[in-house]
Symmetry: C2
Subunit: 358 residues, 2 copies
DNA sequence: CTGAAAGCGCTTACAG
DNA sequence: CTGAAAGCGCTTACAG
């Protein structure tokens, strides 16, 4: 084993300058794209830099350019695979723009104040909030501070902060229509977080579709987007004397847990005894054990829109709330009884598109 | 909608100083824990700071302290839920030490060079590599630069870089013993990434346990820790004339996919027709659809050890490779036939502990 | 305890 | 194209 190595300080531009026999400015210009520098000087600097193992200090650069090239991503819970997938795509897309991700995760929503404080101290160039809470005060303070914020997969009531979402209301509606067309006559809903816009919109759409068919009774329990709570909610519903024929679970993360409870605790066959539909089209929804009929939230398009908004606002310096809404599709799998018509096959996936659909 | 807001520059310590009628040094001292400042001056500064909405600029502070309080976490693939879980715990633990996570994800291993370059430019205080590749050259360069590096869930051959792992060899061994005790007589292995230490160690242990029982034939296919490749590997094995009775899949992420192929494509009953065991004890392993008998990798202890090593080396400035190996346990569920003895119940979980076991 | 001053490693007008 | 110099917003000896 090697002995302990004492940390030695990194090479600076001045050292490179001396070594190359040029000014420190020349070194800086060599590493600043578009700066005015002759090929000859540049070559000398590059050689010296390589020899000494020089890398520009991004911290020092930030201080003077007022750009950290760091985007804060706030993502409290990663258990729902939807979010890791988002994170990976964000990492990819931001790296392509030469930005980096400062990740805030693993805290409880109630402890968000210190998080916010930290994030402001790092002078991040932008903030992406993919967490389910902590946004209202936070985003207001950011707007005041001039830092672009984008809410990912959520909106606030007053729409004062930029957001990227999918058509949750339409998605909920479509699921309602799909289940109705499949001949179901009684319905349940396992809700997500009560104060989340996704939950509210999905349920609103679902309920309106049923209402148009004259159905106003929906058995509702809440799962708060948590597996454990969804299981409890499912047990309550399945123990009901009049168990609904069809269940809309507000996201796939919960739907997976609900399916397990239905099958392994209540012996229900899916979809023969019970139809289940979900939302997000997340990884496990596609696994053969589940095959959940679900509405997609296209991560790639959502992330692209998020990064676009952020880049625009960083470049222009103008922070005007923009709201991007991305369409999703109802992907048909095996967790719910099928309607007779309206299912089309596109790129190997079965999509529900009713005639003159919503 | 509000009109565009022009970004205004943040408040500086000098502005606060002026507003409070003290020197800029006094402002700095107010926000430096342990600095020499009178309660009275402190109060004045705090009041002024609050009024102006001042927050110390962490970037400027980094430049002078030579501490960014940023830890780079390199985690290429997040599909395996083990890693998001690790990430969440890392976020929590590092935040408790007042450190932050700069996340590098969403790139292909082959594109790791630019990643490394970026990470060095930010003068991170430490690096956690939880990615499965890119470590050898990278960690060497970091040692030279004096930046502590910890390999998470992997080691390199020469052991020149600190690492935190679990007893993968013992885990593999234990799984072999467990399957033997369960009466299985023919075995298969679906491998992870060939050049990964986890894969190598797990297989070595597994093979040695079988060898001790006189069994030297193991059907091996590789899944490279990917779902899709594991499915292909499983299909090959299940199509074999002499299908093994028991299958060790190198991690749960693949095992889940393999179980689906077994059940839904080959109509195999688990564990009646086929026993499957996995590794990691990741979320889906515990889901009722799978119930995978698996060896745990205790995330909390692993992350704690990782952060400990990093903090030690950052504080001391001495980078000496340390290797922390954490024990795991074989959690018994329903995916494999059970041995007659050796299963004990601890804290509601069933653990396999053979008499005089390894 | 306090303030004036030097300096961290860069970028960027400015003058040549 | 190039260099000398100012300055980004802090921390930290230093002197009082």
């Amino acid at each position: 084993m090697d002995g302990g190595v004492i940390k030695r300080s990194p090479v600076t531009s001045s050292q490179v300058a001396e070594h190359a026999g040029v000014s420190q400015s020349a070194v800086s210009r060599t590493f600043t794209p578009g700066a005015s520098i002759s090929p000859k000087t540049r070559a000398k600097v590059l050689a010296a830099a390589k020899e000494l193992g020089y890398r520009p200090n991004a911290i020092a650069r930030s201080l003077i350019t007022n750009r950290s090239r760091i985007i804060a991503v706030v993502m409290a819970y990663l258990e729902n695979l939807f979010y890791p997938d988002v994170l990976e795509e964000l990492g990819r897309r931001l790296a392509a723009e030469n930005y980096h991700v400062l990740l805030f995760t693993g805290f409880k929503d109630r402890d968000s104040d210190p998080v916010f404080d930290q994030l402001m101290q790092y002078r991040v160039d932008g903030i992406i909030l993919a967490s389910t809470s902590l946004s209202s005060e936070l985003s207001e303070e950011c707007t005041v501070a001039g830092i672009p914020v984008v809410l990912f997969n959520r909106t606030t009531e007053r729409n004062e902060t930029s957001s990227v979402t999918t058509r949750n209301r339409e998605g909920g509606r479509l699921l309602g229509q799909f289940l109705l067309a499949g001949g179901h006559r009684s319905f349940g809903y396992i809700a997500g977080l009560e104060n989340s816009s996704t939950n509210r919109d999905r349920f609103t759409g679902f309920r309106s579709a049923l209402a148009e068919a004259g159905i106003h009774d929906i058995v509702v329990r809440t799962g708060n987007y948590s597996r454990a709570e969804a299981e409890t909610a499912a047990r309550e519903i399945f123990a009901l004397e009049e168990r609904p024929e069809a269940l809309f679970v507000a996201n796939d993360h919960m739907a997976v847990a609900v399916m397990d409870v239905a099958r392994y605790e209540f012996g229900l066959r899916i979809p023969e005894d019970l139809s289940i539909v979900g939302y997000d089209d997340v990884g496990p929804a596609r696994w053969q054990s589940y095959g959940i009929t679900s509405v997609t939230q296209p991560i790639s398009a959502m992330v692209e829109a998020t990064v676009d908004i952020l880049m625009d606002q960083i470049e222009s310096g103008e922070i005007e709330a923009r709201h991007k809404i991305i369409p999703g599709e109802l992907v048909v799998r095996s967790s719910a009884r099928l309607p007779g018509t309206g299912i089309v096959e596109i790129d190997g996936r079965r999509i529900y598109r009713p005639e003159g659909g919503s």
